[in-house]
Symmetry: C2
Subunit: 334 residues, 2 copies
């Protein structure tokens, strides 16, 4: 068996209570005993048992996180930022993948609740179907939504302003002379897809541009971008610009266009969303909307910690303005 605080206490010739005081850095111990206990702990190679401590303290120093799909490069970027920030406060991350499935998501939420996580950071799969999971969670643990949110549900959220982000791309391509635009994005299940789509429509309206361009909605994956490109090509006429719902879609779409000798940006402008790691390495490099991961992570944790400290805080939604990153997929003059 591993060495326990009892062993340390014995070896140091003090009570368990004193050993505990020393080991947790309490002030009320004489310097003499502090030295003896520390010495014994070192000698025995004592490591505190976080499980026992958690049971006693009622706090695990663990934060749960649930993302729809770890493989989608946008999420690891967020996870990485969250994890780093947690490390600085001595907490660890219990990570779950909901596999884009509200049922799995629900079960993961409950698993994390059972584990007594101090709080939960979640990217809800669906704007509607994630409702029950959220409902369940919110009764048990502090929770903050990041990136996506559940509609009509009062829980903290932090993310970029999706509408604004898409507006920026639309205005940008419009300023380059584009009049007809297609949107290739995901079906309107998630708040991200919903808001980006809304932003697209609103921007077109505001700019007085034609609203009858194609709206191809599938998934947030490259494969869908490829398929959507085929559909656009088969339709006979390309729009001036294709606004993609995220970078993955854009990457797949760019590949298919290239395969069909369509030149970007000469024949059509293309934009993405997220600014994933590879967005600057596509051919041509992709104009996109940058999500400030570090800032999102830090705001999410700030919100979470505030709610951990005080459960009945008013709900906050923090939307961060994203920034347009212009690259060659919309600018021929490299």
């Amino acid at each position: 068996m591993a060495v326990t605080i009892r062993d340390v206490a014995e070896q140091a010739g003090v009570s368990i209570a004193t050993a505990s005081r020393v080991l947790t850095g309490s002030k009320n111990v004489s310097a003499d005993l502090v030295a003896r206990v520390d010495e014994s702990a070192r000698e025995l190679g004592y490591r505190h048992n976080a499980v026992a401590r958690a049971l006693r303290r009622g706090c695990t120093n663990t934060v749960g996180m649930i993302v729809p799909e770890i493989g989608n490069p946008f999420f690891p970027a967020i996870v990485e930022a969250v994890e780093r920030r947690l490390q600085t406060t001595g907490r660890d991350l219990l990570l779950c993948d909901s596999q884009q499935d509200p049922a799995i998501e629900h079960s993961r939420v409950m698993a994390l609740v059972d584990r007594q996580v101090d709080g939960l950071i979640i990217v809800p799969v669906s704007a509607t179907e994630s409702h029950t999971a959220m409902e369940k969670a919110v009764g048990h643990t502090p929770i903050v939504q990041i990136d996506r949110y559940v509609e009509e549900f009062a829980a903290d959220w932090v993310g970029v302003d999706d509408e604004l982000g898409i507006s920026q791309t639309v205005e940008h391509v419009a300023s380059l002379g584009a009049r007809t635009m297609a949107m290739v994005s995901a079906t309107l299940d998630s708040s991200a897809a919903l808001r980006r789509h809304a932003g697209f429509e609103k921007a077109l309206t505001r700019l007085g541009l034609p609203l009858d361009g194609p709206r191809l909605l599938g998934t947030f994956r490259a494969e869908w971008g490829r398929v959507a490109a085929c559909q656009l090509l088969e339709s006979g006429s390309l729009p001036d610009a294709i606004i993609c719902g995220n970078d993955e879609i854009a990457v797949g779409l760019l590949g298919e266009l290239r395969r069909n000798q369509i030149r970007v940006p000469q024949d059509v402008l293309v934009t993405g969303f997220d600014d994933i790691r590879f967005a600057e390495m596509t051919d041509p490099p992709l104009t996109t909307v940058r999500q400030p991961h570090e800032q999102l992570a830090s705001e999410a944790l700030r919100l979470l910690d505030a709610r951990i400290a005080q459960h009945d805080l008013p709900v906050q939604r923090i939307s961060v303005a994203p920034s347009l990153v212009v690259r060659q997929s919309t600018e021929g003059h490299a």
Copy 2:
């Protein structure tokens, strides 16, 4: 406070022990009481406390995982596979990012040990400097290395045969007529870099090809691929083929070559390693070595579970043969 097993027992009018038996699915309870306890638990919305259970059982149903950098797309792929497989056994994943730093890695290992993870899956940062962290871990918890391993250290490992993988790429480009080859990879800190480099040298030797081509060693990142491409271009003459240590490097390198009007595969052949999600969407699509994530994850967990069941098992190293995926970066005839 949350509802405990005591509340359930009271409400059902049985002892805590009986409630526990029902809730853990023990057979030795009368159908009558099973029904009553289940009913009460449902009514009260009882959720077992995993922390208390873990303390009592001495097993947390948690597996720790440490990767060098979550942002590198190869690792999320592995994490995803591991996490999915864990879910099927009711366990959760405590994920840490060692930020390519052996010191951080060491501290993460200890944090996970303190948390009483049932086992640890680690991609060691360095073939040499991760030694102390591994040493520490191995005394406390079952551990298996995945992808990379620490030299001269007796701990289970599962990964692809890096040498074989690179051999395959070298033989492949050789069969296409390439004689001079450059390698662009990471410095030989990690076993992956080491073995891939060794595989490269051996293959050249075996094939009787010139051994004096450039060896550019930096990091496993796209930016390094870009820089290395510049260096190759500045050197005046390109080799017939460039063998990259991973796909990220290849992606960066392809971008820089394109920027300099170098045609791939006509002017130079390029290969990668890992078959990350975007390898098939680069321009041109990248010939690479596929790592079977699911299989690696499943073997790693098999090894880990075996060691959890019996600590003193002989150490195993399982190397899986990777498969070459040929795409246009080595085949002009699209």
